[in-house]
C-alpha cells in the first residue's frame, strides 16, 4: 500500500531519491535545499538506502563527483539551489555533453546580489541552455513524482540527458503537505535496475569520455545533444502516460485549467500555478473568461503544446519569476519563438513578479489582469510589466 506522510518538498525529494536507489549521492548543503542531503544521509546511515554518500566541499565538487560516478555507470543524485547551481554551471555542460543521466533537485531560489534566500526561478532558468531537462513542481507530491519521472526519461536510450527538478524555495521546500509515497516494488518496476547504455567504465572495454573534439567534430556532438532534447519530448509523453497507469497521477507538459472558451490565459510554472488556478476560479465567478496553464516541463520546451494552447486564447499572460534583462522573462522569449511564424496568434503580455520571495497575491494578479484586459480590448499596453513593484521607494 502506498504510504501517506506529511512532509516538506525537501523530504519528498529525499524520499524520491531513496525510491530511485541511486548508488552515489554527492551533496553540499545550501539553503533552501539543505534538508535533502540531510535526509538522504539519514537514510544511508540507517541502512535504508544502500549508497555512497559523499560529503564534498562545494557544489562544484558535488556535481563533479556525480559526473564521475555516472560515467562509471551508476545512478546518481544531488540537490542544490541558487549560487550552488551557479557554481555547478561549467560541470552542467559537461554532464549534458557526456550524456550522463544525472538528476538534481533544485530548490528554486534567487541569485545574488543582494543576497536573498527566497524563491524565484532565476537559478535554474539561468541554466536553461546547458542541455539539461528541466521540470517544475507545483506541490510536494509533484516534487517526488517528477524526480522519479526525470530518472525514467533521463535514462531512456533515446534521450540520455541529465535532468533537474525545480521546486520553489520555502513555498514548497519548507512547507508540509500530505505526500503519497509509492510502493518500492512499483517504483522498481517503473524505473528498473539502472543499466548504463553507452558510456561506463569497464576494464574489458576501455573508452575515453569527455574527450577533446576538434572543429571537425564538435558541432556534430552539440547537434546530437539538440536531437536528444527533441527526442525527449516524445519520451516524456510516454513516461507521463506510463506513470499515470502505474501510480494514477496524471502529468502533462502543459497542464491546462479552465482554458475552454478562455480569452485570457495565465501561463506560469511551479507553485505559483496553484495561486493562479484559484485566481481563475475567482475570475470565472465574476464572469471573466480566464484560464490557467502550467508548464511542468520547461526544457525541452514544449513548442507544439504551446502552439495548441495559443489557439485557445486571445491573450497569453505570462507570469514569471525571472528576468532576462532588456527582454523580459525567459518564457516570453520561448513563447515568442514558438508563435512568431503562426498565422493566427494571441497577444503575449509578460509579467515579472514575485522575485526574491515576494508573495504573489490576488492584488498583484488583479494588476496583471488589468493590463491583459487592455491588450484584449486593443488598447495600448506594455509588453513587459513588473508587478507588485514598490514604486514609492524607487
Amino acid at each position: 500500500m502506498p504510504m501517506r506522510k506529511v512532509m516538506k518538498a525537501n523530504e519528498a525529494a529525499a524520499w524520491a531519491a531513496k525510491l530511485a536507489k541511486p548508488k552515489v549521492i554527492a551533496a553540499f548543503p545550501i539553503t533552501p535545499s539543505t534538508l535533502v542531503p540531510e535526509k538522504i544521509s539519514e537514510f544511508v546511515a540507517d541502512g535504508e538506502l544502500d549508497a555512497e554518500f559523499i560529503k564534498v566541499e562545494s557544489e562544484h565538487s558535488a556535481i563533479s563527483a556525480c559526473v564521475g560516478a555516472s560515467a562509471a555507470g551508476v545512478r546518481t543524485f544531488t540537490a542544490t539551489a541558487s549560487q550552488g547551481l551557479a557554481l555547478m554551471h561549467e560541470i552542467l555542460f559537461i554532464a549534458a555533453g557526456m550524456r550522463l543521466p544525472i538528476v538534481i533537485a533544485v530548490g528554486n531560489r534567487s541569485l545574488s546580489a543582494p543576497i536573498n534566500i527566497w524563491n524565484d526561478w532565476q537559478d535554474s532558468i539561468s541554466e536553461r541552455d546547458t542541455g539539461w531537462m528541466q521540470f517544475y513542481a507545483e506541490n510536494n507530491q509533484e516534487a517526488l513524482d517528477l524526480i522519479l519521472i526525470a530518472y525514467k526519461v533521463a535514462e531512456d536510450e533515446r534521450v540520455l540527458l541529465p535532468a533537474m527538478v525545480g521546486f520553489d524555495a520555502f513555498i514548497l521546500t519548507h512547507t508540509v503537505e500530505p505526500v503519497e509515497i509509492p510502493d518500492q516494488e512499483l517504483v522498481d518496476e517503473f524505473l528498473g535496475e539502472y543499466e548504463p547504455k553507452h558510456a561506463y567504465l569497464d576494464p574489458a572495454r576501455p573508452i575515453t569520455q569527455g574527450t577533446l573534439a576538434f572543429p571537425a567534430h564538435y558541432m556534430e556532438a552539440r547537434y546530437t545533444l539538440w536531437e536528444a532534447n527533441e527526442n525527449a519530448k516524445k519520451v516524456i509523453d510516454e513516461v507521463f502516460a506510463e506513470f499515470e497507469k502505474k501510480f494514477g497521477r496524471k502529468y502533462q507538459k502543459i497542464e491546462e485549467y479552465r482554458t475552454e472558451d478562455a480569452e485570457i490565459i495565465f501561463v506560469t510554472m511551479g507553485s505559483l500555478a496553484g495561486t493562479v488556478k484559484e485566481y481563475v476560479d475567482h475570475l470565472r465567478e465574476k464572469g471573466i473568461k480566464a484560464g490557467a496553464a502550467k508548464l511542468t516541463v520547461y526544457r525541452p520546451f514544449p513548442i507544439e503544446e504551446v502552439r495548441a494552447l495559443a489557439k485557445k486564447a486571445k491573450v497569453l499572460a505570462l507570469l514569471e519569476k525571472n528576468v532576462t534583462f532588456s527582454v523580459g522573462g525567459a518564457l516570453f522569449q520561448d513563447f515568442s519563438r514558438a508563435l512568431i511564424n503562426e498565422s493566427e496568434k494571441p497577444v503575449i503580455v509578460d509579467f515579472i513578479l514575485g522575485l526574491g520571495g515576494r508573495d504573489v497575491t490576488f492584488k498583484d494578479l488583479d494588476e496583471a489582469l488589468a493590463i491583459a484586459q487592455k491588450a484584449l480590448n486593443g488598447e495600448e499596453f506594455d509588453e513587459v510589466n513588473w508587478i507588485g513593484l514598490r514604486k514609492e521607494i524607487l
Binding site: M98, R99, L160, A199, P206, T208, A213, F214, H217, E220
Partner: protein, 105 residues
C-alpha cells in the same frame, strides 16, 4: 622518406572517426592522438644536412614527439606531420647537421 610507423594506427583511427558519432562523443578506441598532426602549429622547422651527419642518433633519442625515424642507412628522417619545431634535435646535434629555420608556407 621512411614510412611512418604509425601508418596503420592512423588509418584505423581515421576510419573509426569517420563513422557515426557516439552519444556523448565518447572515444571507444584508444590511439586518437596519432591523427592530431602536431606539425600544424610549428614556427621553426629543422633543416637537415646529410653531409655533416655522423649518425650519432642524439636527435632520434631526444625528439619528444617522436617525429624522427632512421632510414636504412641509419640517417635521421624527419616526419613534418608531427614535428612541432621545438628545436631540441638541433640543440643536441654535435655537428650542426640540423639547423632550425623559420617555416614559410
Amino acid at each position: 622518406m621512411a614510412e611512418s610507423p604509425f601508418k596503420a594506427d592512423i588509418e584505423r583511427v581515421q576510419k573509426e572517426y569517420s563513422e557515426k558519432m557516439t552519444p556523448g562523443a565518447i572515444a571507444t578506441i584508444p590511439g586518437s592522438s596519432v591523427i592530431n598532426k602536431t606539425g600544424s602549429w610549428r614556427v621553426f622547422m629543422p633543416e637537415f644536412y646529410k653531409d655533416k651527419c655522423v649518425r650519432c642518433y642524439l636527435c632520434y633519442i631526444y625528439c619528444p614527439e617522436p617525429a624522427i625515424y632512421l632510414d636504412e642507412e641509419n640517417y635521421p628522417v624527419f616526419d613534418y606531420d608531427y614535428c612541432k619545431g621545438c628545436g631540441i634535435c638541433a640543440n643536441e646535434c654535435p655537428t650542426d647537421a640540423i639547423i632550425m629555420v623559420r617555416e614559410t608556407k
